[in-house]
């Protein structure tokens, strides 16, 4: 475990030092890239709670990512066009305030995760992977044909939403905000794993029958984990939309679900810092390889393949050489 701690410390150092260097060197785009990685990390930590600890391989987390994005897009769109979101039964107006948008994103995704979870948890294994994929596709096709909010074109928000006390248009301010969220989510995930609930969830994955014998309902435990997981990924979705000042149905696509999953597998499934390392490495690869050749997907593919074939437990596992404790 000691060496894994070193890797984690290194990830934190990268998250802090690279943007600091970027500010000094006046490289604002590096900060944007780091922000992207931090937000992806939050999304993947969300999925990791369901996937890594609960064993729920969700191929539909894009639903929550997209819902968070659209919560931001729709509220900000109405604020930007000075139109009401709803006039009946009560007047609801749009908003450009991040805390309000984030709250809505979390609530919406949690509700969606509750419904999808209740329905999907009737299945297990590969069927669970596929039913969550089906829900993702439903949202994707719905968003594409939802002309009121841009359909496939998506919604463009001209100015980034505001957060009290910060100028979110300054890259480093927005990064600081995202990083704070990332650390809070990390702490939350860490405490969750070590809480009685986390232990029960872990047990529900490994030995559901034993969990049942001690009077706990494994399906219910998994459902709670799925809801928490969806809510966190939804929060990341709202942040991602704000980073790009744009939402589109792409956020709901199965490729998005796949990418969130890749961050986790790349970093190390079930490890606290797995999603963080995975997201950092993925964003860096995407950026560097993209500059090398038009056919950079080949190199990305080869690297991913090598990681799976020769690295047990993702990158962290490769470096620290041990499986995660709860595996």
């Amino acid at each position: 475990m000691i060496r894994e701690t070193y890797v984690n410390a290194l990830a934190v150092a990268v998250l802090l030092a690279v943007p600091a260097w970027a500010v000094i060197a006046d490289e604002p785009f590096t900060i944007t890239l780091m922000t992207r990685a931090a937000i992806f990390a939050v999304a993947a930590i969300g999925l990791n709670i369901a996937l890594g600890i609960g064993g729920l391989v969700s191929f539909g987390h894009a639903v929550f990512f997209g819902l968070g994005g659209y919560a931001m897009g729709i509220l900000a769109h109405h604020a930007q066009t000075y139109t009401a979101l709803a006039e009946w039964p009560i007047l609801i107006e749009g908003t450009k305030s991040m805390p309000v948008i984030w709250l809505l994103a979390v609530v919406l995704s949690a509700l969606a995760a509750l419904v999808i979870g209740i329905l999907s948890l009737r299945t297990s294994g590969v069927y669970f992977i596929m039913i969550t994929l089906a829900f993702g596709q439903m949202f994707f096709f719905f968003a594409i044909s939802w002309a009121e909010y841009g359909g496939e074109d998506g919604l463009s928000i001209y100015v980034r939403n505001g957060f009290p006390g910060l100028n979110t248009l300054v890259p480093i301010h927005f990064y600081g905000l995202c990083l704070t969220v990332l650390f809070l989510v990390l702490v939350f995930a860490w405490r969750l794993v070590n809480s009685p609930f986390g232990l029960a969830l872990n047990a529900a994955r490994q030995a559901p029958i034993r969990v049942e014998t001690v009077g706990l309902d494994p399906v219910r435990i998994k459902l709670v984990a799925f809801v928490i997981s969806g809510a966190i990924t939804g929060l990341a979705g709202a942040m991602f939309a704000d980073l790009n000042r744009f939402v589109s149905p792409t956020m709901f696509s199965w490729q998005t679900s796949g990418e969130i999953m890749i961050f986790i597998i790349l970093g190390g499934v079930g490890r606290l810092f797995g999603p963080v390392v995975g997201a950092l490495v993925f964003v860096a690869l995407e950026h560097w390889l993209g500059g090398l050749s038009d056919y950079w997907h080949i190199y990305l593919g080869l690297l991913l393949l090598l990681t799976v074939l020769f690295g047990r437990g993702g990158l962290i596992g490769m470096v620290s050489g041990r499986r995660a404790v709860h595996d």
């Binding site: 604002p28 785009f29 074109d153 001209y158 790009n244 000042r245 744009f246 589109s248 038009d294």
Partner: protein, 378 residues
């Protein structure tokens, strides 16, 4: 801080040396990988051909691949603005990517020259002084198709397009000019590749003609299946399903089909002739519509650079608006909303030797402006 000083020094020098002293940096974001890469490659090649031909060292181009993903495009635009510090952006193919990028970069004071996408939102209320569309407003070619349908005397058209905003713009554009009745109106799934069900509906309807907007692979599939279905009605569509890049994949099924375009390789003007020849010599293939648009975009930019300094935004904007460059389309003129006012032709798909291509058979609309300019206040 160094950069600021340099810019200040350059601004000082400007008064002395004249307008061309300042180099212009262009960010070209387009689709170079994945399924839609053919269009982006054409735009890039057309653009770079013009850059190469001028030999103007004051123009630096940074090229990036957006993978047809809006969030990547936004990220690249941020990179171009923040890191590369470009003056002008261009290159985007798809309307949804343009909607994600254009409003934010123009709001940051950069120029955006669109070589392809022309969503209606950016032509009307969302127009911007720094946004110029060199190709067309999305509805234009469909409007021309509607006008051509009247000319042919079609009375009952069956119309179809994918169920997404550009598809809706297409059918709206066609209906804006078409005067006959509709035998049917279908929105298909985006990315759909099997049109058996739609073809059966067309066959069962009493249509006398078919209008479709199905870009890329969707159009290839539709045309092949149309030929095979035995439905024998005249087809008309915008140039997107008949451009040089995909015609070879459609083959005989496209022969004789009429389509509308603002450009074709047989347009009779010296610029176009030279362009077609040099493009073939450079890349070993015939240029497409998209290549011509990329070429024109670069030449527009070069014409403005010759007249004004890019750091003087007002003067540069005026130089762009003048649109005084040798276009492959012959005369070129911008309307008040910075979208072209141009002739749109009717082309027919023909076979020259082994190569499928288009030839112009008439003009559908002359000096045609888009329908949204009056909503644009700038």
């Amino acid at each position: 801080m160094k950069l600021v000083t340099m810019a200040a020094a350059a601004a000082l020098a400007l008064g002395v040396t004249g307008a061309q002293a300042e180099p212009v940096k262009v960010g070209l974001i387009t689709t170079l990988s994945g399924g839609g890469a053919g269009l982006g490659i054409d735009v890039r090649d057309g653009f770079m051909l013009a850059v190469k031909q001028t030999g103007n060292d004051d123009l630096e181009v940074v090229i990036e691949d957006d993978q047809r993903k809006p969030d990547i495009a936004v990220q690249l635009a941020d990179k171009m603005v923040q890191s590369e510090k470009v003056d002008v952006l261009t290159g985007i193919i798809w309307s949804n990517l343009a909607m994600a990028v254009v409003p934010s970069v123009t709001a940051q004071g950069k120029f955006y020259l669109s070589p392809n996408a022309g969503p209606s939102a950016l032509a009307g209320k969302g127009c911007h002084p720094n946004y110029f569309n060199v190709a067309w407003q999305n509805d234009n070619l469909h409007e021309a198709a509607g006008a051509y349908a009247n000319f042919e005397g079609f009375k009952k058209s069956f119309i179809l397009a994918p169920n997404y905003p550009a598809g809706k713009d297409a059918l709206t554009g066609y209906k804006r000019f078409y005067e006959g009745d509709l035998a049917g109106e279908i929105y298909t799934k985006l990315g759909q590749t099997d049109y058996a069900a739609e073809l059966a509906q067309i066959r069962a309807s009493e249509a006398d003609s078919v209008f479709f907007f199905l870009p890329g692979g969707m159009g290839i599939s539709f045309l092949k299946q149309y030929k095979d279905s035995g439905v024998d009605l005249p087809v008309v569509g915008p140039a997107f399903s008949f451009d040089q890049g995909i015609l070879q994949a459609v083959g005989d099924a496209a022969l004789g089909v009429k389509n509308t375009s603002q450009w074709n390789k047989d347009l009779d003007n010296p610029t176009n002739k030279a362009f077609v020849e040099s493009f073939q010599a450079e890349y070993g293939r015939l240029p497409s519509l998209y290549a011509s648009q990329g070429f024109d975009t670069a030449n527009l930019l070069l014409s403005a650079m010759a007249k004004a300094d890019v750091k003087d935004a007002d003067a540069f904007r005026e130089a762009l608006q003048a649109g005084e460059f040798a276009s492959t389309r012959g005369n070129f003129k911008f309307g008040p909303n910075h979208h072209p006012i141009q002739d749109i032709y009717v082309r027919e798909v023909v076979k020259e030797g082994d190569v499928y291509t288009n030839k112009i058979i008439g003009t559908a609309l002359t000096s045609h402006a888009d329908a949204y300019w009056s909503d644009c206040n700038m």
